[in-house]
Every structure is written in C-alpha cells, then in structure tokens.
C-alpha cells in the first residue's frame, strides 16, 4: 500500500492496533551483544511458550534492537512496569512465563542488582544506568521491532518527511537544521546544516546523499545499534537530506563486518519502497529518491569521506585532498553530502520537535545529545546517550557505576585511535566538541574506554598505533612511514630496549605527522601517543630508562599455599607445594595475570 499524503499516513497510524489492549509487552533485546549470548533462541522459546499457553491475547512479544545495557544481556524489559530481567538464560523462560506472565509475579532472581549499592532494582527506569540518559538518536532503539514498519509509523515515523516534502522548501530544511545547531557525530563535529547548504547551492544534474555507516573506531557501536534497532529513522533522514540538498539517490556505505546489521536495513528499505517512502513521487510531492547499500571490505580509512567515496566507486579506499570537498565533487565527481548514522538519526526528531527544542539541549556550541559506547573497566557496559555537557564523572561513575572492583580509574580513552586520554583532573569537564579539543582529546565517534590502575598506558598507545599504522592506506608518506617508525620506537620501549632519547623522537615524529598528513587518519594518528605522553610521562620514562618491572611475583608474607595460582598458570611457571609459599619463575612468566585473578589473598604482585 502506497501512502500518498500526510492524511493517509495518519489514517494508517490510527488503524494500527494499539498494544494497549494487551496487558504485558515484552521488549526482548536482539542487539548484537545480546544475540551473541543466544538471545534469539531465548526469544524463540518465549514465543513458543506464549503461544502454547494461549497467552498471546494478553502478551505482546517484541524483538527489539539494542536496549543499551549490553553488559547485562540478554535483557528482557517487561512493560508496563518496565521490569528488567537481566542475563536471562534459555532455562529461565519457563519460570518467566509461569510466574510473570501467568501469575503476575516478579521473578526476583533475574532482577538487576545495582553493583554499587548492592540493591535489587526492579524497574529499568530506576536504574542509575538509565536515569540520566536522554534519547534522541536512540529514540526508538530498543523500544520497537525494527523489522516492522508499523512500529515506526506508530512512533510518528515518516511524519517529518511528509511535512518537509509537502510544506517546506529545501532551503527551509537547511535553515532548520542550521538553527538546531546539530554537528556531525562521526568525529569532526562540523555543522550538518552548513554541510547540507553547501551541497544545495551546487548546480548539478546529479547529486548524492551518502550515509557513512563505516563505524570503524574500535570500541564504538552506536551506529550499528541504530541501523539494527531503528533503520527507518535512518531512511527517513536520508530522504529528508536528499530533498534538502537536491539529491535523488542515496547510498549507505556499511562495513562488511556488520553483516547482521545489513539484513534489517535491507528489509526496511524494501518496506519503505513498498509504502512509497522511497521511490517515485514520494507523498505525491513530485520528489523521487531511492537508496542503495554499498559494502565496505575492512579498511578503517574508509570512514574518511573522500576515501569512503572512492571505495564506493569500487576503488582502493584512499583519501584525496580537500578541496574539492565532497559537496563540490564527490561520488562520481558529483556534489555529495556525507553524514554519519548517528547524525542522521537526529534529523527526523529535530524536524518533528523543532530546531529550538533541540538547541535547548546541550551546551553553548554543542547541541543535543551524544551517544557514547561505554566499555572497559566499568560496571555497566553499554550505550549511553546523554545531553552534551554531561561530565565524564557522571557517565563513568553514575551511569557506568564505576570500576567493577572499585579500583582507581586512571584514565578514560575517548575518540578511539584518533583521540586521547582524559585523566582524573578532567573528569568534571562538561563534554562537548570544543572542551575535548582543548584538553587534547576529541569526540571521535564516541567510544569511551575506561582504564584502571592496572592499564599500562604505553601499551595502550602502542595498541592504537599498531592499529593506525596497519590501517594507514599508504598514500602519503608521513602517515605511511611515520606511524610505522613511531610504532617501532614504542615496541623498542616496551621490549626494554629503548633509550631516553626515544621519547623526544616520538614527540617530534608525532607532531610532524599531525601537521603533514593528508587526511584525518594521519593527522590524528599520533594523538593517543602524544596525549598519554603528556599525562603519563613517568610510565614512558620507566620504559625509556629500563626501570619498569614486567613480571609477576608472589608476596611470601601473604601466600597461604592454596595452589590456585599454580593450577591456572598457562606456562606452568609457578612452583610450590600445598601450604608452602609459591614462587613464580620470572623467566617463564608471560604476565597474563591469570594467577592474579584467582589469588584469594591478594598475594600476587603485579608488575
């Protein structure tokens, strides 16, 4: 059925059977993290049981996208009370069906325990993790079935598109987005409205609207969650963007590693076509637009817009110099707009609620919210969407619940391989694009990795550099050779073969690469090294002066000879008899930390 007008859309919306007739709605998370803990089997089993016991008249089971608290998956949210069952196992299904669905009792043992306060929390809305969050980009993610277009329609889907096409000129739309203050969420933070305006003013018979879904930053998975959890929002935003910039063709460039994300997206595109939200004469406005999916093949640099465009053309994904910018000469040499997934997910909401509303959220120059992927040494791992201006402390300690064992948090890495580390003195900094730049980090795509006192910052920096030097496309020399040399110096240092002069070499090299590389990858590649050098100079010095201890040992005073460490050691380098003090043979120790993890008496001394 094609939807020809706003009225027709509203009529359809009103006819969709309301779920209010059912007394219980189960939101079952089928995000990537939960799926890898077999949530699909769980959902299947629930469905079977609900049907078998004839509960389908009162229970609605919704297979949703990411519910965000990934570390506690698989997750079930039971509406209306929003009771959250966490780490649900296949074997728990019968009990849930019997107690919760049939008898209206809560299955206490599956409730979430607040790890900080050691209290059981029944409803998701009462968890610290969810309390402070504000959803715009993730609005529907985790609340609707992404495979079902009616769920999107029910949540005001495609209304913004109808209004835009029927009542506004492309210029009006550009102005609204400019006024909202939305900035690109993929890293750079450039004004989205201005970007659209540039493409609009270009005169060309062909233009392209491109969605950058090449989420390459390690530790970031918000784009994936949006594509899987709310694909129609992305489609609606792209049609709006196409209209605003004068493009009739849309392309979504998605990394091939995200194979599971592609299916719901394909289905959503087909459904949108079927109902006339894509294709010819959308809403009878005379505007035509369609979307094609382009696959990546594993290259981080393709997140850079010019490299992405070359990759879409079937070429090696190498960047080219700007100008010309993609808005002038992009895909197939025609004016193109490249927007990131999270940026686009904001668009329909902005158009529904108004630029003023959006601009009222956030800080002076960074409006709206930002989604962070919180991971590493933190209790609550998952996606966090908060207003710009929220502090690191609020995210890591309040929403994230702090360190799982209450160890000291040494640093927070933000911005992935292009970003830097934040140390405790900056934990109270309100996060926005500009505050991060001023302290030597950057927003990047919003990966936030929490590191505790045990993290070796030189190793972390080496890890990022290993990544960038491997991903460097090789086109420009500073990045190709420079990052390799930096990596070699770091390797020398961590092998205890370095010298104090290496530190100066690292710094000079890093600064040169920043200033002379062609694209964002090279320009930002030294950031993790330079930023850790600034804040953790003593760790670099310990390596450079070769004073660093690298092996584990056992505190003879504390060791009770329980043999636990001896049994887990993968290299069998721990010796000692029962109830005798154990000893680690340092020449064989690979510093895996297995002994440290099992020791009941804290007798293992970390390097």
């Amino acid at each position: 059925m094609r939807v020809e007008s706003l009225d027709a859309l509203k009529k359809w919306k009103s006819k969709i059977p309301s779920t209010d007739t059912k007394s219980i709605r189960i939101l079952a998370c089928a995000g990537t993290s939960c799926l890898s803990s077999d949530s699909d089997l769980l959902i299947e089993r629930l469905k079977e049981q609900i049907e078998k016991r004839g509960l389908d008249t009162k229970v609605e089971l919704v297979r949703t996208g990411c519910v965000r608290l990934c570390g506690q998956g698989p997750l079930l949210l039971m509406e209306p009370e929003e009771i959250a069952y966490v780490k649900v196992h296949l074997d728990d299904v019968d009990e849930i069906v019997e107690k919760h669905l049939e008898n209206g009792e809560t299955v206490e043992r599956l409730l979430y325990t607040d790890p900080k306060k050691n209290e059981i929390i029944k409803a998701a809305k009462d968890m610290d993790f969810y309390k402070k969050q504000k959803r715009i980009a993730l609005l529907n993610c985790g609340s609707i079935d992404p495979w079902n277009i009616e769920h999107y329609i029910q949540n005001d889907g495609y209304e913004a598109l109808a209004t835009v096409l029927l009542e506004k000129s492309p210029k009006d739309v550009v102005e609204i987005i400019k006024k909202s203050g939305l900035r690109g969420r993929g890293g750079g933070g450039f004004s989205t409205g201005m970007k659209w305006g540039f493409t609009l003013q270009e005169k060309s018979d062909e233009k392209y609207m491109i969605c950058n879904a090449d989420e390459g930053d390690p530790g970031a998975f918000m784009d994936r969650s949006i594509i899987e959890g709310d694909p129609h929002a992305l489609i609606e935003a792209m049609v709006i963007g196409g209209y605003a910039t004068g493009a009739k063709e849309g392309l979504i460039y998605i990394r091939a590693e995200y194979a599971t994300s592609i299916e719901p997206l394909r289905k959503a595109i087909e459904d949108a076509r079927k109902h006339g939200f894509l294709g010819k004469d959308i809403f009878g406005s005379g505007f035509d637009f369609d979307i094609e999916i382009k696959l990546g093949a594993g290259a981080f640099v393709c997140g850079e817009e010019t490299a992405l465009i070359h990759s879409m053309e079937g070429l090696r994904g190498e960047p080219s110099t700007k100008p010309p910018f993609p808005s002038q000469k992009g895909f197939r040499g025609k004016p193109s707009t490249v927007n990131n997934v999270e940026t686009l997910a904001n668009i329909p909401v902005i158009l529904r609620k108004g630029a003023e509303w959006f601009a009222s959220i956030g800080t002076e120059d960074s409006k709206g919210t930002k989604v962070f992927a919180l991971a590493g040494n933190v209790r609550n791992i998952g996606l966090v969407e908060v207003p710009m201006g929220t502090t690191f402390r609020e995210i890591v300690f309040e929403i994230g619940g702090g360190h799982p064992e209450d160890k000291d948090i040494k640093a927070i890495q933000i911005g992935g391989p292009s970003g830097g580390v934040i140390t405790e003195e900056f934990f109270d900094t309100p996060i926005d694009y500009d505050s991060l730049n001023s302290i030597g980090a950057m927003m990047g795509s919003g990966g936030m990795i929490v590191m505790d006192e045990d993290s070796d910052m030189v190793e972390i920096a080496k890890f990022y550099l290993d990544f960038t030097q491997d991903e460097s496309c090789g086109k420009c020399t500073p990045c190709r050779i420079g990052t390799k040399r930096m990596y070699e110096i770091l390797e020398r240092l961590t092998n205890m073969e370095g010298e104090p002069e290496d530190l100066e070499r690292l710094r000079t090299l890093g600064e040169n690469i920043q200033s002379s590389s062609l694209c964002g990858l090279g320009q930002s590649a030294p950031n993790p090294v330079l930023s850790t050098m600034e804040y953790f100079a003593e760790e670099y010095e310990a390596y450079a002066y070769r004073t660093k201890k690298t092996k584990y040992s056992i505190d003879a005073e504390k060791c009770i000879g329980c043999t636990k460490c001896k049994r887990v050691c993968p290299t069998d380098c721990i010796s000692g008899d029962v109830r005798q003090v154990h000893v680690i043979d340092e020449s064989e120790c690979i510093a895996c930390g297995a002994c440290y993890d099992v020791c009941p008496k804290d007798a293992i001394i970390k390097p």
Binding site: R224, G314, F467
Partner: protein, 171 residues
Amino acid sequence: MRKEILDTTTLDQEGLKKLDAYIEGLRGNKEEQLIHVLHHAQQIFGYLPKNLQWYIANQLNMPSAKVNGVVTFYSLFSEEPRGKYTVSVCMGTACFVKGAEKVLDRILELTKSEKGKMSDDGLFTVQDVRCIGACGLAPVVTINEKVYGNVKINEVDDIIRRYKRGDQHAS
C-alpha cells in the same frame, strides 16, 4: 607473468558459473561494483587466488592489476586459502584492555599456526579482527559464526581442543 595466474581451468567451474550469473545480474556500472563482486567470489571460493582475480578482471573488463590492488587493500579479502575454522580474536580497545592479545597468542600456540595463515592440519586460520562491536562481552573470540564472550586465557585450551576433536558443540 607466471602461467598459473592465467590458468583459470583449475578453479571450480560450477563456482565460476555462479559468479558469472551474479555478474550478469548486476545493474549499472559493473566496475564500480568490484567490491561486491569480490565479496561474492570469496563467498563461493573461500578465498581469492590470483587466477580468480584474473578471471574477475576479464569478466568486468578491467586491468587485473586494479583488481589485485583492491583485493590487497581491504583486510576482509584473502589471497590465501583458509582453514575449516576461522578463529577471529577481536582486537578492539575494550577487548584489548581485557587481555585479548594474550588470548590470541595462546590460540596461535595451540593451533600451531601463524596469524592469518592456515594451520598445517587445514583446520584453523587464526586472525585478529577489528572491533566487532560486542564490547560488552570483551574479550571476544569468534570461531566461524559462533561467538565466545568473556574468554579467559585458561578457557582457550578447552575451546580449541573441542574444535580439534570436532565436537565444538559440547559446552
């Protein structure tokens, strides 16, 4: 040029027919869709040997050097045959800070293989991969489609042993 690169008779002919049909069905500029063609070819043949690249270049009417340039640029394309099980150790930041590197080293040791190269018994290709976006489960190892989350170094032996015995489904 070495002769075997030009010899496409050693390729699975059924596979080539499937590939031809795929290329035939493409609309628009075919050269532009090289990456999609390569994905498809790798799905059929398991990897992209030089003679297959040569074949694809001919079918798309483009220089084989260009095809090889693209194949070698992207990490998901492999010119080497792959083991029955592809063991991927996620090297995303979250996994890294939780000890993924040690997990990888241990797996390489157990499978007696080098990173990216098939083990001699043809069972394993062990590789490190970019963040797979399952950071909540770090460190993560995937073996073919199966995802292992929160992998501890002392569990690795057991997992690999099960695959060696062929009863990977036992838990």
